[in-house]
Symmetry: C3
Subunit: 162 residues, 3 copies
Protein backbone atom coordinates (compact mmCIF):
# COMPACT_ATOMS: atom_id res chain seq x y z
CA UNK A 1 0.00 0.00 0.00
CA UNK A 2 1.27 3.44 -0.97
CA UNK A 3 -0.26 6.83 -0.89
CA UNK A 4 -0.43 9.17 -3.83
CA UNK A 5 0.97 12.67 -3.73
CA UNK A 6 -1.37 15.64 -3.70
CA UNK A 7 -0.75 16.86 -7.24
CA UNK A 8 -1.58 13.45 -8.59
CA UNK A 9 -4.77 13.39 -6.57
CA UNK A 10 -5.82 16.70 -8.06
CA UNK A 11 -5.00 15.47 -11.52
CA UNK A 12 -6.98 12.29 -10.92
CA UNK A 13 -9.87 14.16 -9.37
CA UNK A 14 -10.24 16.47 -12.29
CA UNK A 15 -10.04 13.45 -14.59
CA UNK A 16 -12.91 11.87 -12.72
CA UNK A 17 -14.79 15.15 -12.96
CA UNK A 18 -14.43 15.03 -16.73
CA UNK A 19 -12.65 18.32 -17.00
CA UNK A 20 -8.99 17.42 -17.46
CA UNK A 21 -9.83 14.76 -20.06
CA UNK A 22 -12.11 17.04 -22.00
CA UNK A 23 -9.65 17.36 -24.85
CA UNK A 24 -9.76 13.64 -25.46
CA UNK A 25 -13.41 13.20 -24.59
CA UNK A 26 -16.19 14.05 -26.96
CA UNK A 27 -17.44 17.61 -27.10
CA UNK A 28 -20.65 18.65 -28.75
CA UNK A 29 -22.09 22.06 -29.42
CA UNK A 30 -25.45 22.94 -30.97
CA UNK A 31 -26.86 26.24 -32.20
CA UNK A 32 -29.77 27.21 -34.40
CA UNK A 33 -29.86 29.83 -37.16
CA UNK A 34 -33.18 31.54 -37.86
CA UNK A 35 -34.29 32.90 -41.21
CA UNK A 36 -37.30 34.78 -42.45
CA UNK A 37 -36.53 35.75 -46.02
CA UNK A 38 -38.20 38.59 -47.88
CA UNK A 39 -38.45 36.65 -51.12
CA UNK A 40 -39.82 33.18 -51.81
CA UNK A 41 -36.44 31.98 -53.12
CA UNK A 42 -33.29 33.15 -51.41
CA UNK A 43 -29.71 31.89 -51.14
CA UNK A 44 -27.88 32.97 -47.99
CA UNK A 45 -24.17 32.44 -47.35
CA UNK A 46 -23.95 31.07 -43.77
CA UNK A 47 -20.23 30.23 -43.78
CA UNK A 48 -19.35 32.98 -41.27
CA UNK A 49 -22.15 31.81 -38.93
CA UNK A 50 -20.87 28.24 -39.02
CA UNK A 51 -17.30 29.47 -38.42
CA UNK A 52 -18.46 31.40 -35.37
CA UNK A 53 -20.32 28.38 -33.97
CA UNK A 54 -17.34 26.09 -34.52
CA UNK A 55 -15.08 28.60 -32.73
CA UNK A 56 -17.56 28.72 -29.80
CA UNK A 57 -17.51 24.90 -29.62
CA UNK A 58 -13.71 24.92 -28.97
CA UNK A 59 -13.58 21.70 -31.01
CA UNK A 60 -10.22 21.19 -32.70
CA UNK A 61 -10.92 17.99 -34.67
CA UNK A 62 -14.39 16.88 -35.62
CA UNK A 63 -17.40 17.29 -37.88
CA UNK A 64 -20.06 19.96 -38.09
CA UNK A 65 -23.52 19.21 -39.46
CA UNK A 66 -25.44 22.09 -41.05
CA UNK A 67 -28.98 20.94 -41.69
CA UNK A 68 -32.21 22.67 -42.71
CA UNK A 69 -35.05 21.77 -40.35
CA UNK A 70 -37.68 22.25 -43.06
CA UNK A 71 -38.77 20.21 -46.04
CA UNK A 72 -38.87 23.15 -48.44
CA UNK A 73 -35.32 24.45 -47.92
CA UNK A 74 -31.81 23.12 -48.45
CA UNK A 75 -28.20 23.49 -47.42
CA UNK A 76 -25.37 23.05 -49.91
CA UNK A 77 -21.69 23.82 -50.40
CA UNK A 78 -20.63 25.67 -53.53
CA UNK A 79 -19.11 28.88 -54.76
CA UNK A 80 -20.03 32.52 -54.11
CA UNK A 81 -18.93 33.60 -57.62
CA UNK A 82 -20.97 36.09 -59.56
CA UNK A 83 -23.87 34.71 -61.59
CA UNK A 84 -23.75 31.28 -60.06
CA UNK A 85 -26.67 31.68 -57.67
CA UNK A 86 -28.94 32.86 -60.49
CA UNK A 87 -27.79 29.87 -62.57
CA UNK A 88 -28.54 27.49 -59.69
CA UNK A 89 -31.97 29.03 -59.14
CA UNK A 90 -32.86 28.78 -62.83
CA UNK A 91 -31.56 25.21 -63.03
CA UNK A 92 -33.59 24.10 -60.00
CA UNK A 93 -36.68 25.66 -61.57
CA UNK A 94 -36.07 23.66 -64.75
CA UNK A 95 -35.57 20.33 -62.97
CA UNK A 96 -38.19 20.82 -60.24
CA UNK A 97 -40.58 23.39 -61.72
CA UNK A 98 -43.50 25.10 -60.08
CA UNK A 99 -46.63 23.37 -61.36
CA UNK A 100 -50.23 23.79 -60.24
CA UNK A 101 -51.02 20.09 -60.59
CA UNK A 102 -48.82 18.34 -58.03
CA UNK A 103 -50.90 15.83 -56.08
CA UNK A 104 -49.58 17.44 -52.92
CA UNK A 105 -51.54 20.61 -53.84
CA UNK A 106 -54.87 18.83 -53.29
CA UNK A 107 -54.19 19.42 -49.59
CA UNK A 108 -54.39 23.17 -50.25
CA UNK A 109 -50.60 23.59 -50.36
CA UNK A 110 -48.91 25.27 -53.32
CA UNK A 111 -45.28 24.45 -52.58
CA UNK A 112 -44.86 21.00 -54.15
CA UNK A 113 -41.94 22.26 -56.22
CA UNK A 114 -40.17 23.48 -53.06
CA UNK A 115 -40.19 19.93 -51.66
CA UNK A 116 -38.60 18.61 -54.85
CA UNK A 117 -36.00 21.40 -54.97
CA UNK A 118 -35.10 20.56 -51.36
CA UNK A 119 -34.58 16.90 -52.30
CA UNK A 120 -32.51 17.84 -55.36
CA UNK A 121 -30.12 20.22 -53.59
CA UNK A 122 -30.23 18.15 -50.38
CA UNK A 123 -31.05 19.54 -46.97
CA UNK A 124 -27.73 19.15 -45.15
CA UNK A 125 -23.95 19.12 -45.36
CA UNK A 126 -21.21 17.84 -43.09
CA UNK A 127 -18.05 19.95 -42.98
CA UNK A 128 -14.82 18.70 -41.39
CA UNK A 129 -13.24 20.68 -38.55
CA UNK A 130 -9.43 20.47 -38.60
CA UNK A 131 -7.12 22.36 -36.23
CA UNK A 132 -10.13 24.29 -34.95
CA UNK A 133 -11.28 25.59 -38.33
CA UNK A 134 -13.68 24.62 -41.11
CA UNK A 135 -11.63 22.44 -43.45
CA UNK A 136 -13.13 23.80 -46.68
CA UNK A 137 -11.50 24.09 -50.08
CA UNK A 138 -10.52 27.55 -51.37
CA UNK A 139 -13.86 28.33 -53.03
CA UNK A 140 -16.26 26.36 -50.88
CA UNK A 141 -18.97 28.32 -49.10
CA UNK A 142 -21.96 26.99 -47.15
CA UNK A 143 -25.37 28.19 -48.36
CA UNK A 144 -28.86 28.07 -46.95
CA UNK A 145 -31.30 27.77 -49.85
CA UNK A 146 -34.86 28.92 -49.24
CA UNK A 147 -37.56 27.69 -51.63
CA UNK A 148 -40.68 28.69 -49.69
CA UNK A 149 -39.77 31.84 -47.82
CA UNK A 150 -41.45 34.71 -46.04
CA UNK A 151 -41.93 32.57 -42.94
CA UNK A 152 -39.73 31.61 -39.99
CA UNK A 153 -37.29 28.80 -40.78
CA UNK A 154 -34.49 27.20 -38.86
CA UNK A 155 -31.14 25.51 -39.52
CA UNK A 156 -29.47 23.32 -36.90
CA UNK A 157 -25.67 23.53 -36.65
CA UNK A 158 -24.22 20.72 -34.55
CA UNK A 159 -20.49 20.19 -34.05
CA UNK A 160 -19.01 17.09 -32.45
CA UNK A 161 -15.37 16.29 -31.90
CA UNK A 162 -12.51 16.77 -29.49
Amino acid sequence: MRCVDRSLVIQLTCAAQRRCVSEAALKSHTEYLWFKTEREHEYINVTADVERIVAASTIREGLVLVSAMHITAGVYVNDAESGLIEDIDEWLEELAPYRPDYRHHRTGETNGDAHLKSLLIHHEVIVPITAGELDLGPWQQIYYAEFDGRRGKRVVVKAIGE
Copy 2:
Protein backbone atom coordinates in the same frame (compact mmCIF):
# COMPACT_ATOMS: atom_id res chain seq x y z
CA MET B 1 2.18 12.96 0.73
CA ARG B 2 -1.52 12.73 1.39
CA CYS B 3 -3.96 9.93 1.12
CA VAL B 4 -7.25 10.11 -0.71
CA ASP B 5 -10.56 9.27 0.92
CA ARG B 6 -12.37 6.10 0.01
CA SER B 7 -15.22 7.68 -1.92
CA LEU B 8 -12.74 9.49 -4.12
CA VAL B 9 -10.88 6.26 -4.75
CA ILE B 10 -14.09 4.61 -5.88
CA GLN B 11 -14.85 7.54 -8.12
CA LEU B 12 -11.35 7.41 -9.62
CA THR B 13 -11.48 3.65 -10.04
CA CYS B 14 -14.68 3.76 -11.98
CA ALA B 15 -13.18 6.53 -14.09
CA ALA B 16 -10.26 4.27 -14.95
CA GLN B 17 -12.70 1.50 -15.74
CA ARG B 18 -14.41 3.76 -18.27
CA ARG B 19 -17.81 3.47 -16.69
CA CYS B 20 -18.26 6.68 -14.72
CA VAL B 21 -16.88 8.80 -17.56
CA SER B 22 -19.04 7.15 -20.18
CA GLU B 23 -21.17 10.25 -20.53
CA ALA B 24 -18.17 12.21 -21.67
CA ALA B 25 -16.55 9.43 -23.63
CA LEU B 26 -17.69 8.45 -27.08
CA LYS B 27 -20.55 6.00 -27.42
CA SER B 28 -21.51 4.27 -30.62
CA HIS B 29 -24.44 2.07 -31.46
CA THR B 30 -25.20 0.28 -34.72
CA GLU B 31 -28.31 -1.53 -35.94
CA TYR B 32 -29.54 -2.69 -39.32
CA LEU B 33 -33.03 -2.42 -40.76
CA TRP B 34 -34.14 -5.05 -43.27
CA PHE B 35 -36.61 -4.53 -46.08
CA LYS B 36 -38.19 -6.74 -48.70
CA THR B 37 -40.80 -4.64 -50.41
CA GLU B 38 -43.76 -6.05 -52.32
CA ARG B 39 -43.52 -3.45 -55.07
CA GLU B 40 -40.56 -2.35 -57.17
CA HIS B 41 -40.83 1.22 -55.90
CA GLU B 42 -41.72 1.83 -52.28
CA TYR B 43 -41.27 4.68 -49.81
CA ILE B 44 -41.13 3.62 -46.16
CA ASN B 45 -41.18 5.99 -43.20
CA VAL B 46 -38.40 4.77 -40.87
CA THR B 47 -38.47 7.67 -38.39
CA ALA B 48 -39.87 5.55 -35.55
CA ASP B 49 -37.20 2.87 -36.15
CA VAL B 50 -34.44 5.46 -35.99
CA GLU B 51 -35.98 6.96 -32.83
CA ARG B 52 -36.01 3.53 -31.20
CA ILE B 53 -32.36 2.90 -32.14
CA VAL B 54 -31.27 6.30 -30.83
CA ALA B 55 -33.10 5.62 -27.54
CA ALA B 56 -31.33 2.24 -27.27
CA SER B 57 -27.97 3.96 -27.82
CA THR B 58 -28.49 6.13 -24.68
CA ILE B 59 -26.68 8.90 -26.61
CA ARG B 60 -27.73 12.39 -25.49
CA GLU B 61 -25.72 14.52 -27.92
CA GLY B 62 -24.45 13.24 -31.25
CA LEU B 63 -25.21 12.28 -34.83
CA VAL B 64 -27.05 9.35 -36.34
CA LEU B 65 -26.29 8.15 -39.86
CA VAL B 66 -29.10 6.40 -41.76
CA SER B 67 -27.64 4.92 -44.91
CA ALA B 68 -28.93 2.51 -47.56
CA MET B 69 -26.46 -0.32 -48.13
CA HIS B 70 -27.57 -0.78 -51.75
CA ILE B 71 -26.94 1.13 -54.95
CA THR B 72 -30.55 1.06 -56.09
CA ALA B 73 -32.18 2.55 -52.98
CA GLY B 74 -32.02 5.83 -51.11
CA VAL B 75 -32.62 7.52 -47.80
CA TYR B 76 -33.99 11.04 -47.58
CA VAL B 77 -35.66 13.44 -45.16
CA ASN B 78 -38.92 15.07 -46.20
CA ASP B 79 -42.57 15.30 -45.35
CA ALA B 80 -45.22 12.61 -44.88
CA GLU B 81 -48.01 14.83 -46.28
CA SER B 82 -50.62 13.38 -48.59
CA GLY B 83 -49.74 13.22 -52.28
CA LEU B 84 -46.10 14.04 -51.79
CA ILE B 85 -44.74 10.52 -52.15
CA GLU B 86 -46.56 10.06 -55.44
CA ASP B 87 -45.18 13.42 -56.61
CA ILE B 88 -41.65 12.38 -55.65
CA ASP B 89 -42.00 9.03 -57.40
CA GLU B 90 -43.29 10.65 -60.59
CA TRP B 91 -40.58 13.32 -60.49
CA LEU B 92 -37.79 10.76 -60.05
CA GLU B 93 -39.22 8.82 -63.02
CA GLU B 94 -39.08 11.99 -65.13
CA LEU B 95 -35.50 12.88 -64.20
CA ALA B 96 -34.11 9.33 -64.11
CA PRO B 97 -36.48 7.35 -66.30
CA TYR B 98 -36.60 3.64 -66.93
CA ARG B 99 -35.04 3.06 -70.35
CA PRO B 100 -34.14 -0.21 -72.05
CA ASP B 101 -30.93 1.19 -73.55
CA TYR B 102 -28.71 2.03 -70.56
CA ARG B 103 -25.20 0.69 -71.19
CA HIS B 104 -25.42 -0.98 -67.80
CA HIS B 105 -28.16 -3.25 -69.21
CA ARG B 106 -25.68 -4.98 -71.53
CA THR B 107 -24.63 -6.90 -68.41
CA GLY B 108 -28.13 -8.42 -68.29
CA GLU B 109 -29.35 -5.99 -65.62
CA THR B 110 -32.51 -3.95 -66.13
CA ASN B 111 -32.22 -1.53 -63.21
CA GLY B 112 -30.06 1.26 -64.65
CA ASP B 113 -32.70 3.82 -63.74
CA ALA B 114 -32.69 2.65 -60.10
CA HIS B 115 -28.98 3.50 -59.83
CA LEU B 116 -29.64 7.02 -61.13
CA LYS B 117 -32.65 7.51 -58.85
CA SER B 118 -30.45 6.47 -55.90
CA LEU B 119 -27.85 9.08 -56.88
CA LEU B 120 -30.50 11.77 -57.32
CA ILE B 121 -32.26 11.26 -53.98
CA HIS B 122 -28.98 10.33 -52.24
CA HIS B 123 -28.41 7.16 -50.21
CA GLU B 124 -27.91 8.58 -46.73
CA VAL B 125 -28.81 11.26 -44.21
CA ILE B 126 -27.26 12.42 -40.95
CA VAL B 127 -29.70 13.49 -38.26
CA PRO B 128 -28.58 15.36 -35.14
CA ILE B 129 -29.33 13.89 -31.70
CA THR B 130 -29.98 16.60 -29.09
CA ALA B 131 -31.02 15.92 -25.48
CA GLY B 132 -31.45 12.25 -26.36
CA GLU B 133 -33.87 12.79 -29.25
CA LEU B 134 -33.82 13.19 -33.02
CA ASP B 135 -33.43 16.93 -33.59
CA LEU B 136 -35.76 17.12 -36.59
CA GLY B 137 -37.93 20.02 -37.70
CA PRO B 138 -41.70 19.78 -37.23
CA TRP B 139 -42.43 18.11 -40.57
CA GLN B 140 -39.23 16.19 -41.16
CA GLN B 141 -39.54 12.43 -41.51
CA ILE B 142 -36.85 9.94 -42.53
CA TYR B 143 -37.73 7.76 -45.54
CA TYR B 144 -36.23 4.66 -47.06
CA ALA B 145 -36.78 4.81 -50.83
CA GLU B 146 -36.75 1.51 -52.70
CA PHE B 147 -36.22 1.62 -56.47
CA ASP B 148 -35.52 -2.05 -57.18
CA GLY B 149 -37.56 -3.97 -54.65
CA ARG B 150 -38.89 -7.46 -54.07
CA ARG B 151 -35.51 -8.53 -52.73
CA GLY B 152 -33.79 -8.30 -49.32
CA LYS B 153 -32.24 -4.90 -48.69
CA ARG B 154 -30.58 -3.33 -45.70
CA VAL B 155 -30.13 0.10 -44.09
CA VAL B 156 -27.38 0.75 -41.54
CA VAL B 157 -28.25 3.07 -38.64
CA LYS B 158 -25.18 4.19 -36.72
CA ALA B 159 -25.29 6.66 -33.85
CA ILE B 160 -22.20 8.22 -32.28
CA GLY B 161 -22.05 10.75 -29.49
CA GLU B 162 -21.95 11.08 -25.75
Copy 3:
Protein backbone atom coordinates in the same frame (compact mmCIF):
# COMPACT_ATOMS: atom_id res chain seq x y z
CA MET C 1 -9.12 7.97 5.03
CA ARG C 2 -7.63 5.06 3.11
CA CYS C 3 -4.70 4.79 0.80
CA VAL C 4 -4.82 3.26 -2.66
CA ASP C 5 -2.54 0.44 -3.71
CA ARG C 6 0.22 1.07 -6.22
CA SER C 7 -1.30 -0.78 -9.17
CA LEU C 8 -4.46 1.24 -8.83
CA VAL C 9 -2.45 4.44 -8.75
CA ILE C 10 -0.74 3.47 -11.99
CA GLN C 11 -4.05 2.62 -13.56
CA LEU C 12 -5.49 5.94 -12.44
CA THR C 13 -2.44 7.84 -13.60
CA CYS C 14 -2.62 6.44 -17.08
CA ALA C 15 -6.33 7.28 -17.13
CA ALA C 16 -5.48 10.86 -16.26
CA GLN C 17 -2.83 10.83 -18.98
CA ARG C 18 -5.47 9.87 -21.52
CA ARG C 19 -3.77 6.73 -22.65
CA CYS C 20 -5.64 3.93 -20.88
CA VAL C 21 -9.00 5.42 -21.77
CA SER C 22 -8.11 5.95 -25.42
CA GLU C 23 -10.46 3.21 -26.58
CA ALA C 24 -13.37 5.07 -25.12
CA ALA C 25 -12.13 8.55 -25.96
CA LEU C 26 -12.59 10.14 -29.34
CA LYS C 27 -10.01 9.55 -32.04
CA SER C 28 -9.79 11.51 -35.23
CA HIS C 29 -7.65 11.05 -38.30
CA THR C 30 -7.45 13.23 -41.42
CA GLU C 31 -5.77 12.66 -44.78
CA TYR C 32 -6.07 14.30 -48.18
CA LEU C 33 -6.22 12.62 -51.58
CA TRP C 34 -4.86 14.54 -54.57
CA PHE C 35 -6.07 14.22 -58.15
CA LYS C 36 -5.04 15.70 -61.46
CA THR C 37 -7.07 13.91 -64.08
CA GLU C 38 -6.11 13.66 -67.74
CA ARG C 39 -9.67 14.18 -68.95
CA GLU C 40 -12.20 16.85 -68.08
CA HIS C 41 -14.65 14.26 -66.72
CA GLU C 42 -13.30 11.32 -64.78
CA TYR C 43 -14.74 8.87 -62.22
CA ILE C 44 -12.18 7.40 -59.85
CA ASN C 45 -12.85 4.56 -57.40
CA VAL C 46 -11.31 5.69 -54.09
CA THR C 47 -12.66 2.87 -51.90
CA ALA C 48 -9.22 1.31 -51.34
CA ASP C 49 -7.77 4.71 -50.36
CA VAL C 50 -10.51 5.27 -47.81
CA GLU C 51 -10.04 1.71 -46.47
CA ARG C 52 -6.33 2.39 -46.01
CA ILE C 53 -6.98 5.69 -44.20
CA VAL C 54 -9.55 4.08 -41.89
CA ALA C 55 -7.07 1.30 -41.06
CA ALA C 56 -4.40 3.93 -40.27
CA SER C 57 -6.86 5.72 -37.95
CA THR C 58 -7.18 2.57 -35.76
CA ILE C 59 -10.83 3.58 -35.27
CA ARG C 60 -13.10 0.59 -34.59
CA GLU C 61 -16.49 2.34 -34.43
CA GLY C 62 -17.18 5.67 -36.05
CA LEU C 63 -17.84 7.64 -39.21
CA VAL C 64 -15.62 8.64 -42.10
CA LEU C 65 -16.35 11.72 -44.20
CA VAL C 66 -15.12 11.71 -47.81
CA SER C 67 -15.59 15.19 -49.22
CA ALA C 68 -14.46 16.94 -52.39
CA MET C 69 -12.80 20.27 -51.57
CA HIS C 70 -13.85 21.80 -54.90
CA ILE C 71 -17.10 23.13 -56.27
CA THR C 72 -16.78 21.38 -59.62
CA ALA C 73 -16.29 17.83 -58.37
CA GLY C 74 -18.30 15.32 -56.37
CA VAL C 75 -18.09 12.23 -54.20
CA TYR C 76 -20.74 9.53 -54.36
CA VAL C 77 -21.35 5.90 -53.44
CA ASN C 78 -22.54 3.55 -56.14
CA ASP C 79 -21.57 0.48 -58.11
CA ALA C 80 -18.46 -0.32 -60.15
CA GLU C 81 -20.46 -2.44 -62.65
CA SER C 82 -19.72 -2.22 -66.33
CA GLY C 83 -21.46 0.54 -68.28
CA LEU C 84 -22.71 2.35 -65.21
CA ILE C 85 -20.13 5.13 -65.16
CA GLU C 86 -20.86 5.99 -68.79
CA ASP C 87 -24.58 6.01 -67.98
CA ILE C 88 -23.99 8.32 -65.02
CA ASP C 89 -21.83 10.67 -67.09
CA GLU C 90 -24.43 10.84 -69.87
CA TRP C 91 -27.26 11.37 -67.38
CA LEU C 92 -25.43 14.21 -65.61
CA GLU C 93 -24.83 15.84 -69.00
CA GLU C 94 -28.57 15.65 -69.74
CA LEU C 95 -29.65 17.12 -66.40
CA ALA C 96 -26.84 19.68 -66.03
CA PRO C 97 -25.65 20.25 -69.60
CA TYR C 98 -22.71 22.27 -70.81
CA ARG C 99 -24.13 25.54 -72.13
CA PRO C 100 -22.28 28.66 -73.27
CA ASP C 101 -24.86 31.02 -71.75
CA TYR C 102 -24.68 30.43 -68.00
CA ARG C 103 -24.55 33.77 -66.21
CA HIS C 104 -21.50 32.48 -64.36
CA HIS C 105 -19.62 32.50 -67.69
CA ARG C 106 -19.71 36.31 -67.85
CA THR C 107 -16.84 36.15 -65.34
CA GLY C 108 -14.72 34.43 -68.01
CA GLU C 109 -15.34 30.95 -66.59
CA THR C 110 -16.67 28.13 -68.79
CA ASN C 111 -17.47 25.54 -66.15
CA GLY C 112 -20.99 26.50 -65.06
CA ASP C 113 -22.23 23.00 -65.83
CA ALA C 114 -19.55 21.48 -63.57
CA HIS C 115 -20.94 23.44 -60.60
CA LEU C 116 -24.43 22.09 -61.29
CA LYS C 117 -23.17 18.52 -61.76
CA SER C 118 -21.39 18.81 -58.41
CA LEU C 119 -24.63 19.91 -56.73
CA LEU C 120 -26.59 17.10 -58.39
CA ILE C 121 -24.25 14.26 -57.46
CA HIS C 122 -23.36 15.92 -54.13
CA HIS C 123 -19.82 16.61 -52.96
CA GLU C 124 -19.53 14.31 -49.95
CA VAL C 125 -20.50 11.01 -48.36
CA ILE C 126 -20.34 9.68 -44.82
CA VAL C 127 -19.50 5.99 -44.49
CA PRO C 128 -19.92 4.09 -41.21
CA ILE C 129 -16.91 2.32 -39.67
CA THR C 130 -17.90 -0.87 -37.84
CA ALA C 131 -15.44 -3.30 -36.23
CA GLY C 132 -12.59 -1.37 -37.84
CA GLU C 133 -13.87 -1.63 -41.41
CA LEU C 134 -15.96 0.37 -43.87
CA ASP C 135 -19.52 -0.81 -43.29
CA LEU C 136 -20.56 -0.76 -46.95
CA GLY C 137 -23.11 -2.96 -48.69
CA PRO C 138 -21.90 -5.66 -51.07
CA TRP C 139 -21.84 -3.46 -54.19
CA GLN C 140 -21.13 -0.06 -52.69
CA GLN C 141 -17.98 1.69 -53.87
CA ILE C 142 -16.85 5.25 -53.14
CA TYR C 143 -16.18 7.39 -56.22
CA TYR C 144 -14.53 10.73 -56.80
CA ALA C 145 -16.26 12.43 -59.74
CA GLU C 146 -14.29 15.08 -61.61
CA PHE C 147 -16.24 17.52 -63.79
CA ASP C 148 -13.54 20.12 -64.46
CA GLY C 149 -10.29 18.21 -64.57
CA ARG C 150 -6.72 18.63 -65.76
CA ARG C 151 -5.89 20.63 -62.64
CA GLY C 152 -4.91 19.75 -59.07
CA LYS C 153 -7.89 18.83 -56.90
CA ARG C 154 -8.21 17.53 -53.38
CA VAL C 155 -10.52 15.29 -51.32
CA VAL C 156 -10.50 15.39 -47.53
CA VAL C 157 -11.00 12.08 -45.72
CA LYS C 158 -11.73 12.54 -42.02
CA ALA C 159 -12.51 9.66 -39.66
CA ILE C 160 -13.80 10.14 -36.13
CA GLY C 161 -14.73 7.48 -33.61
CA GLU C 162 -13.33 5.26 -30.95
